[in-house]
Amino acid sequence: MKMGMVIDLEKCIGCRSCMVACKQHNAQPPQTWWNRVFTPGSHRHLTPPAKGVEFFLPVHCQHCENAPCEKVCPVGATYHAEDGAVLIDYERCIGCRYCMSACPYGVRQFNWEDPAKAHQRSEYQEQYHYGYPEDHRHEGRLVYMPLRPKGIVEKCTFCAQYRDKGELPACVRGCPGKARFVGDLDDPASEVSTMMKGRNAFTLLPEKGTKPTVFYLPPKAKEV
């Protein structure tokens, strides 16, 4: 079993629903985004870099097989789960942030603030905060908390709390463009494996040798 994700950039409409689904379901406080959608070549999303050119690129943890973040972690907090997902054990993370500088994709984020306080920057009524409401352990390790402690690093888990119940990650469920797919890359008959055939699937920054398990299908497909 090797968990992987395929994102079809022809189907991606740049709507950022995945960003918001991810943020809401994983209780990310203001300024924290595990998932981002860009307009490549442009300094501003949804503004084309040039007349006649525009496509979109969602970027989150690439769940690399050869993950530099895992290698630099001095306490073994970042680890590969049995299905290939890269997770962070919040009970082990000491907040040294070596992983953040090692990650070439810039997707890891640090909790500078007490999380309950951070959520209240939005001035919600009566201490309200959103997100999957319970702590979640995967293989005994604490990989999700609705209020993460100050001083730890966090990032996309492929929604470990949902996958362990047999549900899809929030970004996949929340994508109105149906552009995101997860599945077993080891199984040649899986949806993710078959959809990549003949579509020139690519990964981000292949020259870094990280071997991501997030694959992209190029935009502008015409299947007439």
């Binding site: 689904a21 001035e123 919600y124 959103y130 469920r173 109105p176």
Partner: protein, 818 residues
């Protein structure tokens, strides 16, 4: 607990299915996870029977908790203590606030009559129950009502002119059956997020062509983008129609049977020839019995003049083209020609070179796109508000309708012309709840309210506003008319019901806190996916908020105890809402036949339609079963809308006097701003050179979500104006500068974005910002409520009524600070 949600094992947690339905009209099913009485997460329900519709929902719906629990949430009834607009209120009890509101409304009724009170509800399909409560009260109390279509000016007037209906559209699942999709002034990739994937599927199966002055996201996804000069689409459509006709690529049989093309028109006065005027037909005409709203027109078939039966669309074998000399009953004779012949004369002015000059497109491209479209049918046209909300938007819609009509792309799967803006179209018969016995509404078009005159405008004017589900003080304060009237006291009472402290609440005298759509029962049915769905309470109404049904019932009781009877006074408001849903379903007509509350509690149920599989395919019955046009537009009776198409067919030729004096019997291209900006001040030509485009933002549904902290973060918390880089450079503006957008009427502010896709002569502002984000300068202070007189020759509320021409607005931009 009342509701159809799955019940989780733990009592503290459950899932409840409701329907997210702000004014995007998307009506997306969502599941709320409720933990300890609070909504912890939201995710698309993805429970529509056709998997293609799953998962409906977007970033706005996913972050709705930000509004439900947000800092602007209204908690208690409020009564104003400071100046209007100051935001100074005191907390009041429900009884006190309701008594106060009822007292003021009675006082105004006593002084000026009930029609001096104007109520608005916005799009009915997003909540037939709660919104119906206000409509019913307004009718019982005989208030004035502003139809939402009129209020927002979303009504594309070509619809009643050409097809006799309020508006129509394909459901998005039908998009994939088109072989040519042409999009004019609609950015569906950003504005119809849950449906956008159907457009990409249509592209895989056929061609998608986007015609837009700016390189929008939809243009980026298309096979081909035509960067047309703004507001010249009528010329393009007429040029394409000419090619289709010249090369005989049209569907002659369709034109003969379903359109007015064979009808004879008098060349002396421009009127359609009536059978009663013709010597050989007058006798026969006098014996024919047709409804009052129809007319007996004349065709030539096999060289003989015949009466065209407006109630029967059987094949006539009529000649589509020709000029004839006809002997009239008075002994004189007159020259006539068919509508198609008359159209060909108009099209003589739209040769390819002329059209290329007007539109700024290449002649070869126009020709190729026209031939491609006509030879790859069905054609589906998406006609967007940024194209039709112009003074001559009706002409563009009429001209564009020629493309599907000429090619017989009407009434069939994947065929036709659709408008998705506005969408006040009511999907079934709702009079059992909306229009109680004895109720009567005084309908006044919103532009007439703003202009202070017009049909049904009350003798003493509108002295009180009763608003809910809307934010007119940002979205409609055209030239600050509303704010001025509120400040001067001309508006004596303003009452608003909402769940958040919007700008309009700030300008109100009384504010009533209402629940969001996760806190009450309602019934929805809107566009793009024709499903009936419930809104169901996941949580109790927060703080002291109460459902609108309860609020208006309480108000009804205070205004006249007899009114209360209509609102199920013996039931609590939750039970009453469910009772209303059952009543609506039982009396909704063929569309809701057999559908019950219990079925809806299990999930969304498709409305019935005359088309196979209950698909939403406009005019299916007219074409497949040869039924006269127009089909019914709820809630108007057929005699109200039938008069728009007196021939019982699709009409391109209009002969009401004003159409003739305006030279618009048939669609033509007219110069932009000539009847608006340049007419009011000829100096504006060259003085204000940027057209002000207020497009929909990805991050808002009009003004809803303006204050969503999650979505604000995605926009750097800044309102923006998008400028062509050369235009910005000419004004010394660089990216990120704070700029003022101004004209003689008003001003607003935003941060400049240099956008290479933005055409020269354009300033694009993403609409919906509350004034507080714009330094208090509402962006609609720039716009103006122009009215095209042709839109006033009939008045059927929300159907034939003035379109607001938001786009007819010239501005300039200057740098304020870096």
């Amino acid at each position: 607990f009342i509701g159809g949600g799955e019940v989780y094992a733990a009592e503290v947690e459950r899932l409840v299915r409701s329907t997210c339905s702000p004014n995007c009209t998307g009506a997306c099913g969502f599941k709320a996870r409720v933990t300890n009485g609070r909504i912890s997460t939201l995710i698309q329900a993805a429970d529509y029977p056709e998997d293609s519709y799953n998962p409906r929902g977007c970033l706005r719906g996913l972050s709705m908790t930000d509004l439900i629990y947000g800092r602007d949430r209204l908690k208690y009834p409020l009564i104003r203590t400071g100046e209007r607009g100051s935001g100074e209120f005191r907390r009041a009890s429900w009884d006190e606030a309701l008594d106060y509101a009822a007292g003021r409304l009675k006082e105004i009724t006593g002084k000026y009559g009930p029609e001096a009170i104007g109520a608005t509800i916005q799009v009915p399909g997003t909540g037939y129950v709660q919104k119906g409560a206000l409509v019913a009260l307004a009718g019982l109390a005989r208030w004035t009502m502003h139809h939402g279509y009129d209020q927002n000016g979303d009504l594309p007037m070509f619809w009643p002119m050409t097809f006799g209906v309020q508006s129509e559209e394909l459901e998005s699942l039908e998009w994939i059956n088109a072989r040519t999709t042409m999009i004019f002034g609609s950015n569906v990739i950003q504005t119809r997020l849950p449906d956008a994937h159907h457009l990409l599927e249509a592209k895989r199966r056929g061609r998608v062509v986007v015609v837009d002055p700016d390189f929008c996201s939809t243009a980026a996804k298309a096979d081909e983008w035509l960067p047309i000069k703004a507001d010249t689409d009528a010329a393009l459509a007429l040029g394409m129609a000419r090619i289709i006709i010249e090369r005989k690529l049209y569907d002659a049989e369709f034109l003969r049977d379903f359109t007015d093309f064979p009808i004879l028109v008098r060349q002396d006065n421009g009127k359609r020839l009536l059978a009663g005027e013709v010597a050989d037909l007058a006798m026969e005409a006098s014996t024919r019995n047709v409804p009052e709203y129809r007319r007996l027109f004349v065709i030539s078939s096999g060289g003989v003049l015949r009466i065209l039966d407006p109630e029967n669309l059987a094949a006539t074998g009529a000649e589509l083209e020709g000029e004839f000399e006809v002997r009239l009953a008075d002994g004189s004779s007159v020259k006539v020609h068919t509508v198609l012949t008359a159209l060909k004369k108009v099209l003589a002015d739209y040769d390819l070179d002329t059209v290329a000059t007007i539109t700024g497109l290449e002649a070869g491209q126009i020709e190729r796109v026209a031939v491609d479209a006509a030879t790859n049918t069905p054609i589906h046209i998406i006609y967007g508000a940024s194209n039709y909300q112009w003074y001559n938007g009706d002409l563009k819609g009429r001209a564009l309708s020629l493309l599907p009509v000429l090619t017989g792309s009407i009434g069939k799967s994947g065929a036709g012309i659709s408008t998705y803006a506005g969408q006040y179209r009511i999907r079934f018969d709702l009079k059992s709840w909306w229009f109680p016995e004895g109720s009567q509404l005084n309908w006044v078009a919103y532009l007439h309210f703003l202009q202070g005159k017009g049909p049904n405008y009350p003798q003493h004017g509108i002295k009180a506003m009763v608003g809910a589900w809307g934010n007119p003080f940002d979205q409609h304060n055209m030239s600050n008319i509303l704010k001025d009237r509120a400040a001067s006291g001309e508006l004596e009472f303003i009452m608003t019901t909402d769940f958040q402290m919007t700008t309009s609440c700030l300008w109100s005298d009384v504010v009533f806190p209402a629940p969001s759509w996760y806190e009450k029962h309602d019934l929805t049915a809107t566009i793009l996916h024709p499903y009936l769905q419930l809104q169901q309470p996941a949580i109790k109404p927060l703080f002291e908020s109460r459902s609108e049904l309860w609020i208006f019932r309480e108000l009804a009781k205070r205004l006249n105890p007899e009114f209360e009877q209509h609102f199920f006074p013996e039931l609590d408001d939750n039970e009453a809402a469910l009772e209303v849903i059952e009543m609506l379903l039982a009396n909704g007509g063929m569309e809701t036949a057999g559908i019950t509350l219990a079925m809806l509690q299990k999930g969304p149920v498709r409305l019935h339609s005359p088309a196979p599989g209950d698909r939403q395919v406009p005019f299916y019955e007219q074409v497949a079963h040869r039924k006269p046009f127009p089909p019914l537009s709820y809630p108007a009776p057929i005699k109200a809308t039938g008069q728009f198409l007196r021939s019982g067919r699709i009409e391109f030729y209009k002969d009401e006097d004003l159409f003739i004096t305006e030279g618009e019997q048939l669609p033509v291209h007219k110069e932009t701003y000539a009847d608006t900006e340049y007419k009011v001040n000829p100096q504006n030509r060259g003085r204000y050179t940027l057209r002000f485009v207020t497009k929909n933002s990805l991050y808002r549904v009009h003004s809803t979500h303006s204050n969503n902290s999650i979505l604000l973060e995605l926009q750097d918390n800044k309102a923006k104006v998008f400028l062509n880089p050369a235009e910005a450079a000419a004004r010394g503006i660089v990216s990120g500068d704070l700029v003022q957008i101004h004209n003689d009427r008003g001003r607003t502010r935003a941060y400049a974005v240099l956008d290479p896709g933005c055409s020269a002569g354009t300033a694009i502002f993403e609409e919906g910002w509350w004034s507080r984000y714009l330094g208090g300068e509402g962006y609609n202070s720039l716009t103006f409520p122009w009215i095209k007189p042709l839109h006033e020759i009939y008045f059927v509320p929300g159907m034939w009524s003035p379109t607001t021409v938001w786009n007819e607005c010239l501005v300039d931009v200057r740098r304020m600070s870096a």
